[in-house]
């Protein structure tokens, strides 16, 4: 037993010493390499900037790049996200000439997850049409982080042709992806992809319809009001209804007032009634003020508070009604007072 203890003590001492030495070595290496690579990086970046501003020919650059090939590639890749226009075109051609893009496309099929992620990020930054297909196939990757990254990169690519793949991905329950990532990607693709986004309503599941409603609201086009009203009235999912109501508020078409008003009815879900108050306030029609004001006496305090807030955003008509309620003894007086006080607080101080 004593021997076992002695051996343990020795082993522990050796391990501690080894770890200390490793820590010191890591720090030494880090200090040295950081300083060296900072100098090197500055030099290479300078060369690259000269090349991009066409102050240096490709031949001269290729001669110079021998300094440190891998670091040069890294800097070029990092610079991709920072340059635009002609400079980016030059950089992309340069990376093509070095075979970096083909290598990245190949890496998207590699086993290592990190390698796939880096390849996807690179392709997203390059932003060439050839990147779309490998990135779309990554939407079916077994790892969620890879799929999420592929979504982001497709957004960076900005090709409307990616929209169907993105909408399918958001509905894939076996390989889930974050809703927000798809939303941002579709936002980046913008109005060019709107046709495909709307087509998603035909075949899409709940999440697809929800993301579609959100995107249509962001694009803010009155021609989409009918589609959104239909979603608000007929869709079985509350999530879709909520996003449609919000989208209708953003678009601001008077056509949406009637269907939205119907959502204020007491048997409708609380969340929908709250969002609808906000949507009607955003449309700002004077005729709906009274409807909203009635809700200040609603049994659900959340609806009453949302209604008070909505009324305070509806200009003089809403404020006048709020003042009347605040002066009364009704249940909604407290909410009206709160909304008015919040409104007053928004104004800059007299002093």
């Amino acid at each position: 037993m004593r021997l076992a203890l002695v051996v343990s003590v020795l082993l522990l001492l050796i391990s501690i010493f080894a770890m200390l030495v490793t820590t010191v070595i890591i720090r030494l290496v880090r200090t040295k390499t950081e300083a060296r690579s900072a100098v090197q990086e500055a030099k290479l970046r300078g060369l690259l900037v000269r090349f991009l501003s066409e102050d240096l020919s490709l031949f001269e650059l290729q001669e110079l790049k021998r300094i440190d090939s891998s670091q040069f590639d890294e800097i070029s890749e990092a610079m991709l996200s920072k340059v635009k226009g002609r400079a980016k075109d030059i950089l992309v051609s340069f990376l093509y000439s070095r075979g970096a893009i083909d290598k990245a496309i190949e890496r998207t099929r590699k086993l290592g997850c990190l390698g796939r992620c880096k390849a996807a990020a690179f392709l997203g930054n390059v932003g060439i049409p050839e990147a779309r297909e490998p990135l779309e196939s990554m939407l079916r990757d077994r790892r969620q982080d890879v799929r999420t990254l592929a979504i982001r990169c497709l957004g960076q690519l900005g090709s409307p042709e990616s929209v169907p793949a993105l909408l399918s991905a958001v509905d894939d329950h076996r390989r889930p992806v974050p809703f927000g990532a798809v939303l941002v990607a579709l936002m980046r693709i913008g109005s060019q992809g709107k046709g495909s986004v709307k087509a998603g309503l035909e075949f899409g599941g709940t999440r697809c319809r929800a993301v579609t409603a959100e995107i249509l609201g962001m694009e803010g086009s009155t021609e989409d009001t009918t589609v959104l009203i239909s979603l608000l009235e007929n869709d079985p999912s509350l999530e879709v209804k909520l996003r449609s109501a919000r989208a209708l508020g953003r678009i601001g078409s008077p056509k949406a007032i009637r269907p939205l008003s119907e959502c204020l009815e007491s048997h409708k879900p609380t969340a929908l009634r709250i969002v609808t108050c906000g949507a009607l306030a955003a449309i700002g029609d004077r005729d709906t003020v009274q409807e909203i004001i009635t809700l200040l006496n609603d049994e659900d305090y959340q609806v009453a508070r949302a209604a008070a807030k909505a009324a305070s955003q509806m200009g003089p008509a809403g404020i006048e009604q709020l003042n009347l309620i605040a002066a009364s003894n009704s249940r909604g007086a407290a909410f009206a007072k709160e909304a008015l006080a919040r409104l007053a607080a928004k104004a800059p101080s007299a002093s």
Binding site: L149, E214, A345
Partner: protein, 484 residues
């Protein structure tokens, strides 16, 4: 039987007990070693993907859930304004700050009123979660939509202040932050990332806590990380690194995170409301909340996640004198016993998976009973030495194994810190951290065990304690900006 006749029996018993003590130490440290190794795997993976996490997208996404930051404050006049400003300038698409002035006897509220031009508003506050202290008034900042200050009577419980803030909060996520905490600018978005990546399953996340003593701060942000000046705080830097950063990362990797620090955690508001908010009778409110979330979510039979994110950092002042540290550690120990007792259904219950079968038994056998075994072990070793039941060399080796294993874990934690975060980047700090890792085992560890034991006894006697305010130096916003 004569005393002389009993000696061999006593000697045998003492030897068995000493062996038990050693085995216990080895088991405890081995569990820690496993947790640290798991944490290092997790951190390795995190750092390799760090540049690919999509923070920028999350910051610009309309789908990023807005957060209500809840800041309970009691006698925090020294730093409350800086803390509030720092929270409101965090990188996050949409957040509101709710400060609860919980019956402060100092000028906490006056400082806020002067700084933010507060005006009182009449507000109907629903009782979604229970509160005890009466709310005196609600104030909002003129020209700002995002700051609400609640003044309430204190009932001496931080949980009551947080519950009051939950009732006022309007966003789907709530983040509880201590009034003396300093968050990194991107801390909130980083700790909320799991909610963005997996909104269906993630119900709670916690961020890392590090001691701010010695660091430089400017306008509520840490500008330079330094080791504290006092050795007691330096030791706590190592302790926080080993136990709170790596330990919790390890538990999170196992899917068995029981504690999210009360100083910095994000929760889904609907879940917190569904479980009745913070338990007002609880002493270890942070662990108790997480334990009840686990119980509730398992009851719903839907997949869920409680995760720890090691990168977002919340900096907090740690005690620099023995009296305050003792009080803090007694409270933590009392809180842990209280939490385990209140949620005893978790104990060895396979329904709760690794949490019930691993984490909760670990906390009971090693965190609650740890000080009992540790101090009894030391006592018996001294007795055995005195009566010559064990020889000095054997006892020395025995102690050496226990202490060296502890040092090994601390140095391993430092190594991981060096490879991953590399926050303490001066050679002087590395040297101080190494020395702290060693001296921690001579005196501090034994004192700590004693304080924890006191806490266990206080819990058994059901001693009640209210806000135990720690004297703060507050943040200094001058050019030097050093906290201590």
């Amino acid at each position: 039987m004569s005393v002389a006749g009993m000696a061999p029996i006593i000697a045998t018993v003492l030897r068995i007990l000493n062996w038990f003590g050693l085995s216990y130490f080895l088991a405890l440290n081995t569990i820690y070693l496993i947790l640290i190794i798991l944490a290092s795997i997790n951190l390795g993976s995190y750092f390799r993907r760090k540049s690919l996490t999509g923070l920028e997208d999350a910051l610009s996404s309309p789908a990023t859930l807005p957060v209500s930051v809840l800041m309970p404050a009691h006698d925090e006049e020294a730093g409350i304004v800086e803390s509030a400003r720092a929270v409101m300038s965090l990188q996050y698409p949409q957040l509101e700050l709710i400060v609860v002035d919980d019956g402060s006897s100092d000028a906490t509220f006056d400082r806020l009123r002067e700084a933010f031009d507060l005006i009182e508003i009449p507000m109907q506050i629903p009782e979604l979660v229970p509160t005890l202290g009466q709310i005196d008034s609600v104030h909002i900042a003129r020209g700002l939509n995002d700051l609400t200050v609640i003044r309430k009577h204190s009932v001496g419980k931080k949980t009551d202040a947080v519950n009051a803030a939950i009732n006022v909060a309007k966003y789907p996520l709530i983040c509880v932050v201590d009034a003396d905490a300093i968050l990194d600018a991107d801390a909130l978005i980083k700790v909320a990332m799991p909610f963005i990546d997996d909104p269906q399953r993630v119900v709670a996340t916690g961020g890392a806590i590090r001691p701010s003593n010695g660091c430089s701060a400017y306008r509520g942000r840490i500008t330079e990380v330094r080791m504290p000046k006092k050795w007691l705080a330096k030791i706590q830097v190592i302790e926080y690194l080993r136990a709170f950063l790596l330990g919790r990362t390890g538990w999170s990797k196992l899917g068995a995170l029981l504690i999210i620090s009360g100083a910095f955690g994000v929760f889904r508001r609907d879940v917190v409301i569904a479980i009745g908010g913070y338990d007002l009778s609880s002493i270890g409110e942070d662990a108790d909340l997480v334990a009840r979330i686990h119980i509730y979510m398992r009851g719903l039979k839907t997949p869920y996640k409680v995760t720890f994110v090691s990168e977002p950092v919340c900096w907090t002042e740690v005690p620099e004198n023995i009296t305050v540290l003792r009080r803090q550690r007694r409270r933590w120990s009392r809180g842990l016993v209280d939490t385990l007792w209140s949620n005893k259904s978790l104990f060895m219950n396979p329904k709760y998976g690794t949490l019930g079968l691993l984490a909760v038994p670990y906390f009971f056998f090693f965190e609650v009973l740890g000080p009992v075994v540790e101090l009894t072990g030391f006592f018996l070793l001294i007795v055995a030495l005195y009566f010559n039941f064990v020889n000095v060399l054997f006892a020395g080796l025995f102690l050496a194994v226990a202490i060296l294993y502890g040092i090994l874990l601390s140095i391993l934690s430092l190594l991981i810190e060096e490879v991953s975060f590399h926050r303490y980047n001066k050679w002087k700090f590395l040297y101080q951290a190494v020395v702290s890792s060693i001296i921690e085992n001579f005196g501090f560890r034994q004192m700590h065990a004693y304080w924890r034991l006191e806490g266990v006894f206080q819990a058994l006697r059901r001693t009640d304690r209210s806000w135990e305010a720690m004297p703060r130096k507050g943040l200094v916003s001058d050019q030097s900006g050093s906290i201590s």
